[in-house]
């Protein structure tokens, strides 16, 4: 164990999720290395000071904002039941377009690296999707919406991408 390794293990060390044997090694290093002792101490203090601010940084919603939002949303929701089906259809359409774009990107090798990794991970364990995409890639067929089951898997994959992250290469 050296100082560099120790610095990168500090979070586990402090949240108690560390293997006891590694913890013992860390303790031993800290006992004989002043720099690391101070580093660990100030790291812990940083966490504590940030946590103390928790209540402080909490932004209160101003009363007038709250009233404005409530009035708007309640009236929007009242119009809502009639529009429910429209919204549902629209959401479905958007979802299908996204799946189609994903399939196209997968066939053309234009998935983002994150999406490609997740896709590879998925088809490694899902024979149905593997088969579907192998055929899709080789056939140069016109893209169409995949069958329900595969569509659902793609949707789940898309949903598990980090927020704000696009699935295609830009």
């Amino acid at each position: 164990m050296n100082c560099k390794e120790l610095a990168y293990l500090l979070a586990d060390y402090l949240d108690g999720s560390m293997d006891p044997r590694i913890r013992a090694e860390l303790d031993e290093h800290i006992a004989r290395c002043k720099a690391c002792m101070i580093f660990a101490k100030t790291y812990r203090l940083t966490c504590r000071k940030a946590a103390e601010l928790r209540g402080d940084i909490h932004y209160e919603i101003p009363d007038e904002v709250q009233e404005r939002l409530t009035a708007f949303l309640v009236s929007a929701a009242r119009k809502f039941p009639g529009q429910m089906d429209d919204y549902r259809r629209q959401a479905e359409r958007e979802c299908e377009e996204k799946v189609l774009a994903f399939c196209r990107a997968a066939v053309e090798g234009k998935l983002s690296s994150m999406a490609a990794i997740m896709m590879d991970g998925h088809i490694a364990v899902c024979p149905k999707c593997r088969e579907y995409f192998v055929v899709l890639r080789s056939a140069h067929a016109d893209l169409c919406l995949p069958p329900r089951e595969i569509l659902e898997h793609v949707v789940r994959l898309l949903e598990s991408l980090p927020p704000g992250e696009e699935f295609f290469l830009v």
């Binding site: 610095a7 929701a77 980090p162």
Partner: protein
């Protein structure tokens, strides 16, 4: 409130929202409006942006409540919509000044030893008089973080969510959350260290 009670309360609410029951939207807002506004403020740092984002979040929740699968907790679904909405807004906006986090990571020699002396500023920090100013500085340093780290830091260390909850909301793995959080803290430690050292030199 214990998690199971919150879960039950949410489940009932969900059912009523789906049916369009009277008062359901009001209850949704009573439970979540403050939290969502605060989270949006932490990410967007601007009140009118946060208000618009909050409105968008609840419109999305009301519209999509039928597609909510229930495989994650309701509140984490709402938080996720909020984070998504805010990040989308940030992208459309000129990027604020953010720091390069790499410049604040500890530096080591080839043998893996600390390359520069590590300053012990724990005593300065414990001095009471410093507290308010220190709070301001922590806030400022946090706001200078790029969104990738700030959002994780906000959810975990400000909202006080567990790593598992943060991971679920962001659709990231727990190790990825931990690693970003750790880097954000290393950054903050270094910033505090530099700031307190400057104070000493004065």
């Amino acid at each position: 409130m214990p998690a199971t009670d919150r879960w039950k309360e949410d489940e009932g609410l969900l059912e009523r929202l789906r049916k369009g029951a009277p008062g359901a939207v009001e209850e949704l807002l009573r439970l979540y409006q403050g939290k969502i506004f605060s989270l949006a403020m932490s990410i967007l740092k601007n009140e009118s942006d946060a208000e618009e984002a909050t409105q968008d979040v609840f419109m999305t929740v009301i519209r999509k409540v039928n597609t909510f699968k229930g495989n994650s907790a309701f509140y984490s679904w709402i938080y996720r919509i909020c984070v998504n909405t805010c990040l989308m807004r940030l992208r459309g906006r000129r990027r604020g000044d953010t720091v390069a986090i790499e410049d604040f990571m500890p530096v080591f020699t080839e043998e893996g030893m600390h390359a520069s002396p590590v300053d012990d500023w724990s005593k300065e920090v414990e001095r009471k008089a410093l507290n308010e100013e220190l709070g301001k500085m922590i806030r400022k340093f946090t706001e200078e973080l790029s969104e990738k780290y700030r959002v994780v830091f906000v959810l975990s260390d400000i909202e006080g969510l567990s790593n598992e909850e943060t991971a679920k909301i962001l659709g990231m793995s727990v190790p990825a959350v931990k690693s970003r959080l750790h880097r954000a803290r290393l950054y903050l430690r270094e910033q505090l260290s530099r700031y307190l050292q400057e104070g000493k030199a004065d």
